[in-house]
């Protein structure tokens, strides 16, 4: 049993944790929920020894626990899978599973014994990779599973999962949940931090909800909660700003004279085969598919990263897409990636500097000299419009929460006034409130006539925000879902089977049988 009592932590004058209690029973999966900034991350950092609390006691199995640092935490049986991927990309899978804790035979590393320990854990997670594979070659979802495997090989008494499914597809998430259920039998105490509330309800036994550095709801059984109730508790008095559900609309016929982003007979060997696609201005179109189905390749082609061997891309103004990222961006294409720390922001720079990066810096739209004061002013407007929570535009982006960082990414692209937005998993790892605000932004941009292409690992998200979702299967468009066909369930089915739903319910069943 893991207990935290009266944990307090303040940074400067700002109280991050104001006396928090948490009790996680051995053999239970305990959800820790709250909006970004509620104090979850700080609490997790205290539990794993990354942050020393100002006051409070930690107990593990009744014994008082002092954790000096993260390595110490692992030795004492607390393992963490953090939101940030922290693997060593140059090393192989096996070396990544035993960082600083290699099994040894004399002075040598005993790889055979390590492999014998690691293989069952990888199998349990359904991670079908070689132990010698270099980690840098693995896709993001497998890396995240590998992080989880690394925590599991240490046989922890307490396992803390901080947003573990942000890069996982639903099938992998399901697998992870199975593993958690098995850990429960082994008397492991699991702390599960996630923004996917439905996941939480599916797998967790108890739920603690935090708000503003305090516990708002202490350890209640998950069975007594619903997603709506949780959201209410998380937001407290604040009004839930949740996106308006798309009004059910009939199939819209695409008028070919209308301005649109068009892919004409695009072929990329090994990724796309003769794909024709038109995305009219003012529409939000989703791209779905299982990994490698080609939906992400569409974004690569439309952003100029990949040059198709055949076919071409035409922008809404009728001009063909220039080669290369820079060419595409100069023509009004914006690229918002879910991997914001890598592709989106400069963490060590202030907000205004980030916001000026495309328009003023890359495209030189301010001319030969850049006036910081002018960018600051415009940055201030973006901060207000997007509701970025920050004391000032001079704040370093690294100091902001994930949702606010992603809003800065949006701001930098909006500053460049794009006509085509390519959104690659744009809300990964962001809390509900910020997600809703970003969804509303999509609507606003659509009303402004922008073309938006969204790819997402969350089919519910696609179903909620898109006018239409194009499903890819083996490099080809296999279905275009809209109107009443557009729901997460159908989407998942079509993604996995590659068979479009025809009309009515019976067909959906047929598709299901094919899959089975």
């Amino acid at each position: 049993m893991l207990e935290a009592q009266g944990i307090r932590k303040a940074y400067g004058g700002v109280v991050a944790l104001a006396g928090v209690d948490l009790t996680v029973r051995a053999g239970s999966v305990h959800a820790l929920l709250g909006e970004n900034g509620a104090g979850k991350s700080t609490l997790v950092k205290v539990l794993v020894g990354a942050v020393t609390p100002d006051a409070g006691v930690l107990r593990l199995g009744g014994k008082e626990l002092t954790v000096a640092n993260s390595a110490d935490a692992v030795d004492q049986g607390i393992a963490v899978v953090s939101q940030e991927l922290s693997l060593f990309p140059d090393l192989d899978v096996l070396s990544n599973l035993f960082p600083m804790r290699e099994y040894r035979r004399g002075p040598l590393v005993d790889r055979r014994r390590m492999a014998a320990k690691a293989r069952p854990v990888l199998d349990e997670l359904g991670l079908d990779i070689g132990l010698d594979d270099p980690v840098e070659d693995l896709p993001l979802d497998q890396r995240q599973l590998l992080e989880i495997a690394r925590a599991l090989v240490a046989d922890p008494a307490v396992l803390i999962l901080d947003e573990p499914t942000s890069a996982l597809h639903s099938r992998e998430t399901e697998r992870l949940h199975d593993v958690l259920r098995r850990l429960r039998k082994r008397d492991v105490a699991v702390v599960y931090v996630s923004h996917h509330l439905e996941d939480v309800l599916a797998v967790c036994d108890e739920v603690t909800i935090m708000r503003d550095g305090r516990v708002a709801v202490p350890s209640v059984p998950a069975s007594t909660l619903t997603v709506d109730r949780i959201v209410q508790h998380m937001l407290g008095d604040k009004v839930a700003a949740i996106v308006e559900e798309r009004t059910q609309q009939g199939e819209q016929v695409v008028d070919h004279g209308q301005p649109a982003l068009r892919l004409e007979n695009v072929t990329v060997p090994g990724a796309l085969e003769d794909v024709d696609l038109a995305v009219p201005c003012g529409r939000v179109v989703g791209l779905a598919g299982i990994a490698g189905a080609g939906h992400r390749a569409v974004l690569d082609v439309a952003s100029g990263v990949t040059r198709p061997t055949r076919g071409r891309v035409v922008l809404p103004d009728g001009s063909p897409l220039k080669a290369g990222l820079r060419g595409a961006i100069s023509q009004g294409v914006a690229i918002v990636s879910g991997d914001r720390k890598r592709f989106g922001v400069m963490l060590d720079k202030p907000i205004w500097d980030n916001i000026g990066q495309v328009s003023s810096v890359a495209m030189r739209r301010d001319g030969m000299f850049i006036r910081a004061s002018r960018i600051r002013e415009r940055a201030g407007e973006h901060v207000r419009r997007l509701g970025i929570k920050t004391p000032s535009v001079d704040q370093e982006v690294g100091m902001l929460s994930g949702g606010n960082q992603q809003k800065v990414v949006f701001a930098k692209w909006l500053e460049a006034k794009p006509t085509v937005l390519l959104l690659d998993d744009p809300t990964r790892g962001i809390d509900v409130g910020a997600k809703a605000e970003i969804y509303n932004l999509f609507r606003e941009l659509a009303d402004g006539g922008a073309v938006q292409l969204v790819s997402s690992s969350d089919p519910r998200e696609l179903a909620a925000v898109c006018d239409e979702v194009v499903v890819f299967h083996e490099g080809k468009v296999c279905a275009r879902l809209s109107g009443r066909h557009l729901d997460a369930h159908t989407l998942l089915e079509v993604m996995n089977t590659g068979i479009p739903p025809s009309d009515g319910e019976p067909d959906r069943e047929t598709a299901g049988r094919h899959a089975g």
């Binding site: 940074y11 400067g12 700002v14 991050a16 900034g37 991350s41 700080t42 439905e198 997603v227 709506d228 959201v231 604040k238 009004v239 839930a240 700003a241 949740i242 996106v243 308006e244 990222l325 961006i329 990636s337 890598r342 592709f343 989106g344 922001v345 400069m346 060590d348 720079k349 205004w352 500097d353 990066q357 003023s360 810096v361 890359a362 301010d366 030969m368 000299f369 850049i370 910081a372 004061s373 600051r376 002013e377 201030g380 901060v383 207000r384 970025i388 929570k389 920050t390 004391p391 000032s392 535009v393 001079d394 100091m399 902001l400 809703a436 605000e437 519910r460 179903a463 909620a464 997460a488």
Partner: protein, 348 residues
């Protein structure tokens, strides 16, 4: 999320406070990255002056400024490269090769001013060569410029036959101007100041300067923002090479001759000067004024040692110790500042 039909979004937070403008000269000065090196330089001058008042004489200080010019100019270029996570180890050799070129061209009868211009352009081309190696062979800049360090130096030795080559005569107007002074301030020192000021404006207020720092801060994000990373790298290396050329030309104007071994080890001094000045090796940040001041600090150390009659064979050791001291002091100050900032910052 599903099934939640909800009202229009209402702003739940008060709108963020208006962007704050940093005002006031004093605060601006305090916020400068090069504050540490400025204090260290002044402090060291005063300490040496306390023991040997002669050190504080204007002429003496100006002589130090003159000596610091060459490394200082190279350090300004180096600061740009460090800011984008690149490194140019060939600057000392570029300096020697362009000095030789300038001397040989003037010696063959070319107008010295024209020879100087040609040499500076040649320096830029050498930088371009570095950039092309890096880009087309995919070499890390440290490896590519390590090779060209030897190549350019070798070329200098080969072309000069290992001996000094005389440049324009001392009574030539070219030499007169460059070795002259304005109100006692050496022209070379003035050039250093002008270079530092112009490059500070370039770094702080032009798209090129922003691009350099953006690339250093996050190369992938820079690429995905449409910044032409390769072109910017090429421009920065050409700048570094041209500054090497400028330093070489100044040497010819000042000394009147090119020694093929001149400037060996300057690449490391230039890096040290830039780092002492407050440029981070991690990229993203640079201060040109700091780099120039760093070179001046190294110059002060060099002459100070002579005053304290440190045996010449201990010179290098002492210089190294001072570099270490300056950098650790700066690092300590920076850590404290960062902690103060982290304390006031809020994870929202």
């Amino acid at each position: 999320m599903s099934g939640a039909t909800v009202s229009a979004p209402t702003p739940t937070e008060p709108s963020p406070t208006a962007p704050t403008q940093r005002n006031g000269f004093g605060r601006a000065l305090l916020a400068q990255e090069y504050l540490g090196v400025l204090i260290a330089t002044l402090g060291l001058v005063l300490v040496i002056g306390a023991f040997y008042p002669r050190f504080l004489q204007f002429d003496q200080l100006m002589a130090i400024l003159n000596q610091a010019t060459y490394v200082g100019i190279l350090a300004c270029g180096m600061a740009f490269l460090l800011a984008m996570r690149e490194l140019d180890l060939s600057v000392g050799s570029v300096y020697a090769l362009t000095a030789l070129a300038c001397a040989m061209l003037a010696d063959s009868g070319m107008n010295p001013w024209l020879a100087a211009l040609v040499s500076i352009v040649a320096g830029g081309l050498l930088g371009l060569f570095n950039a092309l190696l890096i880009q087309y062979f995919g070499l890390p800049s440290i490896v590519a410029t390590l090779a060209t360090l030897a190549m350019f130096r070798g070329l200098t030795l080969a072309l000069s036959d290992g001996t000094q080559v005389l440049g324009p005569p001392v009574d030539d107007p070219f030499s007169q101007v460059i070795s002259g002074d304005v109100l006692g301030v050496p022209v070379t020192g003035i050039v250093l100041v002008v270079v530092a000021v112009v490059l500070t404006v370039v770094l702080r207020a032009t798209p090129f300067g922003y691009r350099v720092r953006s690339i250093g801060s996050n190369p992938d994000a820079a690429l995905f923002s449409g910044i032409p990373v390769n072109r910017v790298r090429m421009q920065a290396f050409v700048l570094s090479g041209a500054l090497g050329g400028l330093a070489g030309v100044l040497t010819i104007g000042y000394l009147g001759a090119a020694d093929p071994n001149t400037g060996s080890g300057y690449e490391l001094l230039a890096i040290a000067a830039a780092v002492i000045g407050g440029t981070s090796l991690a990229g993203g940040k640079a201060t040109i004024v700091g780099a120039a001041l760093g070179a001046v600090l190294l110059g002060v150390v060099g002459s100070g040692l002579a005053y304290f009659s440190v045996p010449i064979n201990w010179n290098q050791f002492a210089t190294g110790a001072v570099i270490l001291g300056a950098v650790s002091l700066d690092s300590a100050v920076r850590r404290r500042r960062r902690r103060a900032r982290a304390g006031s910052g809020v994870h929202l």
